[in-house]
Assembly symmetry: D2
């Protein structure tokens, strides 16, 4: 039986737990050490550290301080790991904590984080998803049930000083390129940094340059890849002695793109993993970013409705091979379609963010239009959403809606 | 048995065939008419109309006049189809012509079309793929064999005048936005227009505004969606009386993105299809772009190596949530990996363009980095490409290479 | 392009074609020779050589002389093949002949061949299935459509004299064990033997001991394995110099067990294959019967209704771990279920015989009951056959039925 | 969060737990009651109630008293359930108990239970399988690792008196048909009956006729269907008021047929389920045995080696369409094949019993030979077991073997 090396108490603040951190920095001390070949379990907070509650108000989604996220468990030191190695992580299983069998999804206010469709859904909204064994349902989004594609939204190893500096430099350059300061990236922010076991002056010093956790980067990090799910095997670049593996931001289910940003179906839980090493693997295999192999056990949906989008925006403006715009159009097309069956736009948006929808980069060379496709599994619906000659049936009467919280002031 | 309504003679120029056209315009007369419920077969040229040859020189890829493509079969009129309907097309089967059991893939010169990785592979290159029943292999790219995911790169209905004008307007605006005229889009070009049965003055007039076929648009068109494959069912918006369905640009296999641009495994062939109508379906289902359901018969690969890419470009510059850049990095990462097994970069690039690789929009909200993943099926390789502690084996000795043709002058 | 080494003319009797044979015997001369590594195509008659017609009468099913079947194309000699080798056959593709895009299914009369449920359906019945590209539908069995799982019912190499003698001996012993002579097996029968190029005395002599083609045996033969479908790779034991590969009895689709016996969806067609050798492979791998690897391209159905059966027969008698009885019960249970939606028993039986249903040996040790399961894909039906609280809807009104032909006399 | 309605203490004898029973009888009182729509959890012993230990001796397998099995949790009463209804059970999740993360597989001695291949492996043997998250490995069977296809071997509702009498009658007739009394079936046996809450005289009376749990029967029971796995939905016939659902005999993984009998990978654990009713569903849908729908989350293996078997036995005797013999031959063929890679026969037999191998009833009408196929997933092996021209490599040196315990006199 694998030992639980890091435990979390969901009734406590994550900032009181010294095996938790919310920044990336090589000076964060290892929370614990393991040997190659070891199996172990890490418990995790949800990415907000418990800020979002299981209730019917979106106020918490509106009011969250996003400088506090993500609360990660680790870093775990792996004996013998050296820069240039590949750390092979088998995600043997992942689950929710037994005292917390639910997750949340939401859209941030456009004024505080936003999301992929924030121009269309600019206000904070939330849906709660109950976990029923391997399945989930929501009291706010009727008519759908998904088998869980459980995965960590965020997992990766500590950067070294050089890589950290590179991150900070390039992201600051992006920030600097935007005089109106609309939040293209988030620079280090010491005030809300939680640096694990690092305290005092050392903490203050490191926190001043510690990287925020939102973006995915060379080490993996907040990739939000739904298929990096329990049962998969991941090969992570190692930058520091001991590797320093951290994990958090567990998702019960998510669609490609995590378009709702807040986020997937977000949950607290645990990760059961095994680590081994490929010495010198980065050079051997020419690895810059992590690679992985998918799980042999995952939800298999076979029947899809596939929506196309091209890179012409909502105002009819032609963009040049812009996959983001194309995918946004595919998403908007799917939402319009689902409305015909009685969903509100917000509910349809939530489905695209939480169900195991696929987002494919279908065509990226046919100037000037990129083409993206959104694959919506039909088997998640309790009614038939396929097009027929008779036209759609409004299965939902609109009596159930998602909580919404207008911006204050 | 379904009738073959349009035949092509591969030894003749497509411009001599009045059931072929290479522009979109509502005035192109129907090549033939069918009734809803009919099954029929259309033969097609390859997208270049036979310009690219089955040989070991990339000169034709270098020298092609891209204003001549794509040669499409149609338009097929469907009795009773009216603007606002959905034309339901069952792709009952698709195949190569028996006298042409091969296809080509290539990269255009950066000076003439380019491709997704044209900065890295700026010269014309070509590979030829032989078709062996349901499988393909190339004499220029050793060690791989794929089961065919046969699909039309291009299929859709005629635009009406209003839609055509919208296309031309928005694309011209894009062209106009680029003073250095680097080819962001292609405006109408009458000189090489082939307008099917339209001749004389009427042809000249229409050709002056007829849309080029390269981009996918609202009607579908050149979507290059690999999963719109034989066995799938597609729902097309109808804009003109009779719908006017045209098809061409058949692919034996392709990866998500068709990153090599020239293109997938391009072939001449035939499409066996059935058409029905959903009257008023566009409004009933809120349809702007085509939607489709995937085929129950397609190559199923289960084991993948998945490469991540983020939106930091090759020079280390940070882009803001740019999926194109992220997918390009994932592709480059995969190419570096494959080189370790003995492939040239060009061969690896060809594999990504031709094999049924998946390109997923994995994360698109985690500022500032988009995350894209490229899924490479391991089962297409004749040797094991999985990472191991021992490191990779060079299975290929480099003795087989792809033809390359330097730019002239 | 692969050469067609054997052609068949469907308007002629198969007995006039010297590249066809309907018995197994080592003296049958090779119809043609190929080299290891060669690709080639063989055309085939349907297993009855054209006796069953595309019409609406089951008289031909009732009246057929089963001593005439199966008409096989071959044998193909493979240069260098020797006893003890494994002949590796890649089934690169299989299809119907363009002048014969249909197939038949039926039940033989209990008096002439019968079938798995002949006690319940003792009279000759027939259904005709039209081939629409990769799909099939029947005018006699409404409401279903299948993607084709095309495969040869019968394929294998010539036996040597010793193996032939073993077959004849053991099968005669079985016949002799049944004094009432109910047809437990079929001994050699010279009168209707067609021995390919063998003529005159040599033919008469060989025909006297040539094995009938109905049973599968060590060499493969009439295995009727639905998953040995186009795209699969088969490893056949070789018993004679040159191997002598023959093939026929093509099926467009079939369920596990081929329970209707006459048969799957039976068709004339062609097989595109490639042969190679594993020298001494039988001993190297301990091979007695063929082994194979399934195709990467085949119909994929994901949603099933699964029916259980146990080894208690229709009269309530307890059998000991008898999988045949258990599978028969599972089949009968599925038929009763389908009747609730409006199918006749015969139509339901036809569906189980022709659709890609799976038959699993689920439990075979829990004395005294074997347990078998029949997997019915729900996606082949045009209506929903899942159980609901409301109960089933009779989608079919019984106006369409299968032809039936009472026994004469 | 679902309540755990039945708990088990693995350190105690199951006979001390009044919510456990090892016989089927309508008089066994409900252990607890639920409402339709309820979700709940039942813990279970392994089928032997803890007799088989996690050690390296097969003595316990040899010495077990099989009259004591299976120890089931229940019966659970469902309010409102009446005879003729269908009880719909959603198996929301199933797992091992955290204090017991292992399972066992073995062969019984031919003198005490035997197994499908007991003539070949007549002595008691055992292998222990450790559970690593969603995967399993054995210290006795090297080189394989499976993703868990977790399922209850045994689940079903209480019979009524009439059905119980029918079972006892027909099974006794089978026993009586065998004068040498070789154990064709097991009659009621009061001495080791554990009847849950039933005590005293009532217990003694019921135990005298209570059915043994080994065979699957009309109610489901010990079906050992590997695909009735977590995530599946089962429709059970109801015979008594309240239904009386019991479950036990959990398996972490099993092959079709459960050929090793002792058994799958047997484990103690828990089942999380939800129950609803279809009133009068047995008549509405013509249901005699349970039906079910498979899970959307299960191990997906894509690459198989498929072994054929025909109904000619090991001595060369021809049987008539006997699927059992054909499947036995397919199993023996697979074992011979695996030996070439270094497995002992016993280890190969264990793999066929425990891995998610498929057993298909491939042909059942081609007199006189039935044809069965065994599908062995190649992806469970740590090395390549595909046939190649070079022949097999002995990856295992035989240093690891399965414990064996000779019969004692």
């Amino acid at each position: 039986m694998a030992d639980t090396l890091i435990k979390v108490d969901l009734t406590q603040s994550p900032t009181l737990n010294e095996n938790i951190h919310n920044r990336w920095h090589p000076d964060i001390p290892m929370a614990c050490w393991v040997n190659p070949g070891d199996e172990f379990i890490l418990e995790t907070f949800d990415w907000t550290g418990g800020f979002i509650q299981n209730n019917d108000s979106a106020d918490d989604v509106r009011d969250i301080d996003l400088s506090t996220v993500h609360y990660l468990s680790g870093p775990v030191g792996v004996k013998g790991a050296e820069p240039g190695d590949l750390l092979v992580v088998d995600l043997l299983d992942i689950g929710a904590k037994q005292d917390s069998l639910w997750g949340f999804n939401g859209f941030f206010s456009k004024k505080n984080g936003g999301g992929f469709l924030t121009e269309h859904y600019p206000l904070a909204q939330k849906s709660i998803w109950d976990i029923h064994g391997m399945f989930t349902k929501s009291r706010h989004v009727p008519g759908v049930s998904y088998a869980g594609l459980i995965h960590p939204g965020l997992i990766g190893c500590l950067p070294d000083h050089k890589m950290l500096e590179m991150w900070n430099t390039r992201e600051q350059e992006l920030i600097d390129s935007d005089p109106s300061n609309t939040g293209l990236a988030n620079p280090p922010f010491a005030a809300t940094a939680h640096m694990g076991r690092l305290t005092g002056e050392a903490k203050d010093k490191a926190a001043a340059t510690a990287a925020r956790t939102v973006p995915p980067r060379e080490h993996g990090g907040n990739c939000d890849i739904k298929d990096l799910s329990r049962g998969s095997k991941v090969f992570f670049p190692v930058y520091v002695d001991g590797a320093g593996l951290s994990v958090g931001d567990l998702h019960f289910s998510q669609g490609d793109g995590e378009i709702t940003f807040c986020g997937a179906i977000e949950m607290a839980g645990w990760v059961h993993m095994k680590v081994t090493l490929i010495k010198g693997g980065m050079a051997k295999y020419g690895i810059k970013n992590p690679i992985f192999k998918p799980s042999p056990i995952k939800p298999v949906y076979n029947d899809y409705l596939i929506f196309e989008g091209i890179s012409v925006d909502e105002q009819g403006k032609q963009l040049y091979l812009d996959v983001n715009v194309a995918y946004r159009q595919a998403c908007l097309n799917a939402i319009e379609y689902l409305k015909k069956f009685g969903y509100s736009g917000a509910q349809a948006y939530s489905i695209l963010g939480t169900a195991p929808v696929q987002g494919h980069i279908s065509g990226v060379v046919d100037v000037p239009n990129a083409c993206a496709t959104l694959w919506l599994p039909t088997e998640i619906f309790e009614f038939d959403i396929n097009p027929t000659a008779a036209g759609p049936t409004k299965f939902l009467d609109g009596s159930v809606q998602m909580p919404i919280s207008p911006d204050v002031k």
